[in-house]
């Protein structure tokens, strides 16, 4: 039961907690695009891919007492961590996700705005590269070409890491 919720809780467990709803939204999306079995529906919002379904799943996990949501006043954002009840809940689910530690560390180290750009570029990944750049520039007029190039390199690095976690779990 609630297997998709359990995957979100498992990600937070593996990451040792995640600060910021926006960061969590983008991380789940990027992992989904890299082939990690997250199935939340995403739509493009003003700040890139966003899933209302994931937002509700987080609230539901908090309601059950499986996640703790606290206010990180230093950074002005919410912080999620797994509770003891959450550990018990996950114990009943076995291995839902591969070991994501190699990639989670890379993602957590990034700024929200960079993850947003990365997620946005992945959102258009069915288009040819030039069209992706054109699309992102039309949506984020303030974005510089170097930033876009840097996000593209980052996506390539992430895709390179994919083999490290796809074989585990």
């Amino acid at each position: 039961m609630l297997e998709e919720h359990a995957k979100v809780a498992e990600l937070i467990r593996q990451a040792g907690g995640i600060n910021g709803r926006r960061k969590l939204q983008k991380i789940v999306y990027i992992l989904q695009k890299l082939g990690v079995p997250f199935y939340e529906t995403y739509h493009f919002q003003v700040h890139g891919p966003y899933s209302e379904e994931l937002s509700l799943q987080l609230e539901e996990l908090c309601d059950f007492g499986f996640l703790n949501e606290s206010w990180d006043s230093e950074n002005g954002q919410v912080a999620y961590s797994l509770t003891h009840g959450g550990e018990e809940f996950l114990n009943g689910h076995g291995h839902l996700l591969p070991d994501l530690s190699p990639i989670a560390e890379k993602l957590l180290a990034q700024q929200n705005s960079f993850l947003e750009l990365t997620a946005a570029m992945l959102y258009f990944d069915t288009l040819p590269t030039e069209k992706v750049i054109e699309k992102v520039q039309s949506l984020y007029r303030e974005m510089k070409h170097e930033q876009i190039r840097s996000a593209m390199d980052y996506i390539a690095t992430l895709r390179g890491t994919r083999s490290e976690f796809q074989t585990v779990g």
């Binding site: 609630l2 709803r21 493009f44 003003v46 966003y50 919410v78 009840g85």
Partner: protein, 432 residues
């Protein structure tokens, strides 16, 4: 007048219970309505399984799509009259409004859950692929279909056009709230739509609302809130949705195991095999699905025939409010069901708010998504719940709910003295 945007010799009208009349003056819109892909929406109910709870809810996505078009048309008329509208965007906005739901299939949400389909992806494909809709749009210009798809996909650079079709107060939500309230017969869900249109002020990135009309917006927010809890997340409709999902899941499992159907679901085979083409998808509608559900009641497979009988004859699952303890004791519950001969894979299911495709207004975390903004007399913008006590009281409310659905009749059919019946009753907290 540009020939691409030819006007009809005579205005066409559709009589509509919500908007009285829907007016079509453009050849482009008229031709889009006439495509077979758009006409298919007549055979797809707007509210899926809700008709099993509110018998009036038989209205289709066809009527809703026309309604969204009509609202967008009237809003643009108002903006135009104030000199607030870029005329070059009119046909694009109207086409996107009309086509925003064209990729919906029969009982879309259950299909998406079981087969991993995505109605939004099919909307894009129907606009961009080899379809009658694409042919009509491409007559405007080669890139017009892409622009329409971008507006619907919320990736069109003109945020004002996008927000007309898709935002916290948009033509889509305004139409479905009023239409669903009308057809379900509920007394909530009403708000003064024309007043909202008149206080809308377009800006570069979104539509904002004049403070003087805040109470009309409050009514709209209350309507969304009440419709969510009373109609969209109604436990009986959700129970029917759970059974529908289980039927599709069972049919897929049977097909994959080589089961020989009495009534082979030829039109579902591409779905079962994961190779569904756009043409396969277009051929599916609710009449096809109901035909299978009807005939599958006579299938040899007991689970499939039972689930179809439940759906067709409204013998739905009952529910209990799901507790944390039940979640942690999941194994005990599924074991007890197995012991009782009731397969938990098909007869035990959690349904949560996050499974429901509707929501109600929440401002969200900063920079997450666009909130509703009020335009203050000094020109500044304030988020709605900061100014409205009514909205603040709702947005602070918990918006989640979880129910565990199961066939109570099957449990009660177990011998009264049986230990497993007692165990299930205890775990589900209902009296034996």
């Amino acid at each position: 007048m540009n020939e691409r945007f030819e006007k009809l010799n005579e205005e066409k009208v559709f009589k509509d219970p919500v908007h009285r009349y829907i007016h079509v003056r453009d050849r482009l819109i008229w031709d889009l309505i006439g495509t077979s892909e758009f006409q298919r929406l007549r055979r797809i109910r707007q509210l899926g399984t809700t008709f099993l709870t509110f018998h009036g809810a038989e209205h289709s996505r066809f009527g809703h799509s026309l309604g969204v078009y009509e609202i967008a048309r009237r809003i643009i008329d108002i903006f135009r009259s104030r000199g607030d509208w870029d005329e070059s965007q009119t046909q694009l906005a109207l086409s996107a409004a009309l086509l925003h739901d064209v990729g919906h299939g029969p009982f879309s949400h259950a299909f998406e859950k079981v087969f991993g389909t995505d109605h939004e992806r099919f909307t894009q494909e129907l606009i961009l692929g080899d379809t009658e809709i694409h042919d009509v749009l491409a007559k405007v210009s080669a890139d017009f279909p892409v622009q329409v798809a971008d507006v619907i996909g919320k990736t069109y650079p003109n945020r004002l056009v996008v927000s007309l079709i898709s935002s916290q107060i948009d033509a889509d939500r305004m139409d479905y709230l009023l239409r669903d309230a009308y057809f379900t017969g509920v007394s909530y869900g009403h708000f003064d739509m024309e007043r909202i249109w008149r206080i809308m002020r377009p800006s570069e990135d979104q539509i904002v609302f004049k403070l003087s009309g805040m109470h009309a917006v409050e009514d709209y927010i209350m309507s969304r809130y009440q419709m969510y809890w009373q109609v969209y997340f109604h436990p009986v409709s959700r129970s029917a949705e759970v059974i529908l999902t289980k039927i599709l899941h069972r049919a897929k499992v049977l097909y994959e195991s080589g089961y020989s159907f009495g009534q082979t679901p030829l039109q579902l085979i591409p779905l079962f095999e994961g190779g569904m083409t756009l043409q396969d998808y277009i051929r599916l509608d609710e009449s096809v699905m109901l035909y299978y559900f009807q005939t599958w009641q006579q299938e040899r497979d007991k689970i499939l025939s039972d689930l179809c009988g439940r759906f067709m004859n409204r013998r739905l699952f009952k529910y209990v409010q799901l507790s944390k303890d039940q979640l942690i004791a999941e194994d005990a519950l599924t074991d007890a069901f197995r012991e009782a001969g009731i397969d938990p894979e098909y007869y035990l299911e959690v349904d949560s708010s996050s499974d429901c495709p509707y929501d109600f207004y929440r401002p969200g975390e900063r920079e997450e998504r666009q909130p509703i903004l009020l335009l203050m007399p000094d020109g500044s913008r304030h988020e709605l719940s900061q100014e409205s006590d009514v909205v603040a009281s709702i947005t602070g409310k918990r918006r989640t709910d979880h129910k565990l659905y199961y066939p109570k009749d099957s449990v009660l059919a177990l011998p009264e003295s049986s230990a497993v019946r007692k165990k299930i009753s205890e775990l589900l907290h209902f009296p034996t």
